[in-house]
């Protein structure tokens, strides 16, 4: 009997998640609308003369990404709760690791697209030197998103099994956002202010170690959540 | 240099500490007593 490897399971799960999302688009549209809303509100809520673009831009970017992302995180496991599809997954020899990695990949792609679409909007609202700093900025966005998604995927696997998962996820996830999002904001602020790399290394190392530690921890703990 | 006159904050802090600690202790005691009665 051919075995399904963790990798093939992960890709199958991620592909399925994204295919379903492409068909339904509910979570994607709501995340996007939310992102635009937050960007617009923050932009129009300030007096340009007193609050400069530099002061507001990093915060606006990360508030948008964080909350738009949180909106979409539950989707991955709500999908499994419908028709108890998760039981179908558990009936196959697919490992918990494979399923977790698949869900994380699905969420990363989902969030990546939301970020990709709202970034130009962000540039529209705030004239900050994005283009020259794009590579390092994208790297920081990617790192923060990985940390945020790894923890968020683990927590949403638990939360969807309670009655009020929509409210519960932000409550549990907020403290976990402090290290990655604060680092990301600090890095974004310095990047946009064209500060030398030496000023970035501290926060980059914090963000990097958060990603590595929490990705591994979430991976290992996911099995304890899946088994009944 | 004479010290700032902020004794009021100290009093407030000590009162708050007492209220919360005592409040929690009493609440615990009552919850246990209620449970004891339901448990016989």
């Amino acid at each position: 009997m051919p075995r399904s490897t963790t990798a093939s399971v992960a890709f199958a799960v991620a592909a399925k998640d994204l295919k379903v999302e492409l068909r339904t688009k509910t979570a994607f549209v709501s995340s996007l609308v939310f992102a635009v809303l937050v960007l617009a509100v923050l932009y129009f809520a300030r007096d340009k003369t007193t609050v400069g673009d530099f002061d507001l831009a990093p915060g606006a970017l990360w508030v948008t990404f964080t909350f738009a992302g949180m909106l979409g995180l539950n989707r991955a496991f709500l999908l499994e709760r419908e028709n108890r599809a998760l039981d179908g997954l558990r009936l196959t020899p697919a490992s918990a690791t494979g399923i977790f990695l698949g869900k994380v990949m699905g969420n990363l792609v989902f969030l990546g697209v939301v970020e990709l679409v709202s970034l130009p909007l962000f540039i529209l609202f705030y004239d900050v030197p994005i283009w020259s700093q794009l590579p390092i900025l994208v790297a920081v966005i990617a790192m923060a998103t990985v940390g945020f998604v790894a923890v968020g995927t683990l927590l949403s696997a638990m939360v969807v099994r309670t009655r009020f998962s929509e409210v519960m996820l932000p409550v549990l996830l907020l403290p976990f956002l402090v290290p990655p999002i604060v680092s990301a904001v600090q890095l974004t602020w310095r990047i946009l202010a064209l500060r030398p790399l030496s000023e970035l290394t501290g926060w980059l190392s914090l963000l990097g170690s958060f990603d590595i530690i929490f990705f591994t921890l979430s991976l290992m703990l996911f099995e304890a959540i899946l088994v009944e | 240099m004479d010290s700032p006159d902020n004794g009021a904050y100290m009093v407030a802090a000590y009162i708050v500490t007492a209220v919360v600690v005592l409040g929690y202790a009493v609440m615990l005691y009552l919850r246990i007593r209620k449970e004891k009665r339901r448990n016989t």
Binding site: M1, P2, R3, S4, T5, S8, V9, A12, K16, K19, V20, R23, T24, L79, E82, N83, R84, A85, D87, G88, L89, R90, L91, T92, P93, A94, V227, E228 | -
Partner: protein, 226 residues
């Protein structure tokens, strides 16, 4: 020497919180045999099946299972937004089963070829049930667990399912079928297990008894156990 059992269940119990839902069930099933489980709602049939399937760990007792398991439950365990074929292809991939011809055969077998490319969100109860059976057969399981396989099926669809059960038995699979519809299923099962409040109060060969006789036996045990 009887064939070695494909399922060996020893004193299995399972609780949710403090409530014991399955109590000290022991049973052996040999290849090619179908056992019918009957009992009221809350008798523990579904929980026992989920424990046998490995979805729930037994709180006490042990299960030895040779070969692979397939299950059909109340819920379809599939994705409404995907088509019939996409669902099967997804689970086939997780089972590591090469797709294509085997999938088409299953869809054919269960009379779903004409709707293979439609989203299952639009399917009727009967179509979903048959697709769920197709999904449970993807990896050619040695043991198949069916929870109310005929519920919500019209006569034609029920006949298809009964045919599939016969065919699986002839190819040496073991089946456990939890059901309320005794009439149709009594003909395909060798033995009947009667569950009352989580306990297997009886496990007897059917020996050609018809549905009415089995129901009478069930009532006798239920009143006795109450």
């Amino acid at each position: 020497m009887p064939a070695s059992p494909s399922i060996r269940v020893r004193e299995v119990s399972r609780r949710f919180g403090h409530r014991w839902v399955v109590r000290k069930v022991s049973l052996d099933i040999v290849p090619g045999e179908a056992v019918m489980l009957i009992g009221g709602n809350g008798a523990g049939k579904t929980t026992l099946l989920r424990v046998l399937a490995g979805l729930l760990k037994p709180s006490k007792g042990t299960i030895e299972l040779t070969g692979t398991v397939g299950m059909v439950a109340h819920h379809t365990m599939m994705y409404d937004a995907l088509t019939a074929r996409e669902n099967l292809a997804f689970f086939a991939r997780l089972h590591g089963v090469p797709r294509d011809e085997w999938l088409d055969h299953l869809l054919e077998l269960l009379g779903l070829s004409h709707v293979a490319h439609e989203r299952i969100g639009t399917f009727s109860r009967g179509m979903l049930q048959r697709l769920a059976i197709a999904r449970s057969l993807l990896h050619r399981p040695d043991v198949l667990l069916l929870d109310e396989p005929l519920s919500g099926l019209d006569d034609a669809a029920a006949q298809v399912v009964l045919q599939v059960i016969q065919e699986l038995k002839s190819r040496g699979a073991s089946l456990v079928i939890a059901t309320h519809q005794l009439v149709e299923l009594v003909s395909v099962a060798e033995r009947v297990g009667i569950m009352v409040q989580g306990a297997l109060v009886a496990l007897e060969p059917i020996e050609g008894r018809d549905a009415a006789a089995v129901v009478a036996r069930y009532r006798e045990l239920v009143t006795h156990a109450a």
